[in-house]
Amino acid sequence: MAFKGTIVIDKQRCKGCSVCIENCPNKCISLSKGVNSKGYRYAELSSDGCIGCASCAIVCPDSVISVYRVKI
């Protein structure tokens, strides 16, 4: 069974630490070009390879990632 997923990042609360980027098995996340209101470059979903595994969200110290997943 295959899954397709997506994530929603609260970009104003993201601190750009990049721990999520390092933990994504499919390298779907990257840092934004611009900055949020705190001056941090924030994490963004940058490819459509997300499988909704939640690895990024589990390691996010600020718990700003929500993960959605559907069976396909």
Partner: protein, 255 residues
Amino acid sequence: MEISDMIKPENLVYGKPALLTDNVMHYCPGCSHGTVHKLIAEVIEDMGIQDKTIGISPVGCSVFAYNYIDIDWQEAAHGRAPALATATKRLCPDKYVFTYQGDGDLASIGTAEIIHACSRGENIVVIFINNGIYGMTGGQMAPTTLLGMKTSTTPYGRDAKLNGFPLKITEMLAALDGTAYISRQSVHTAAAARKAKNAIRKGFEYSSKGVGLSFIEIVSTCNSGWKLSPVEANKWMVEHMFAKYPVGDIKDVLK
């Protein structure tokens, strides 16, 4: 399927636990403290013990832990969390009581309190954040600082002749009869964080069985104190900290 069609409540598989408050954490970007807070919140939520849990926060970067997990808390003087937890648990034996302490707090100024709480076999849980440094006060050497590791008070690296050896306090505490479950974990990957969560849950379960003290060390990073990026700090931890502080269960009296 379009992304917008996926973002629906019924498809949500992981999000911030409800027990974490909406306060923005004061921790530096990538600090392990935030991840451990989340795991504790998840365990309390999963066990449905929000109204039965009392946390004791330390002095150190996690001094404000009480702002982030929506349970009852007390704030202890530096190193005294195990003493406060002892009183709390003895006065309220039906509550789950845990301390949350850094390595400076637990293994330096609070050495006496943790040793005797373990020796007495208090039915509490201790979460020990070992980042090998005094994070809050500007990155001074801690008892747990590795040999050769540079800190603001060991600018040329920790030297055994001058500064003594790193203290493996977790193994010391395992030798005491009053400890029931002792484990060392980390939270740098999703797999590691899941194991750490299981260990924390076991600690909470044991504390209600009256079998003694449960102690979960989390080998952590202080990327600011270590002067590395958060991702580099995690790599440095795996390469250097794990050699001295290997992860896994150390003691389990019910096994």
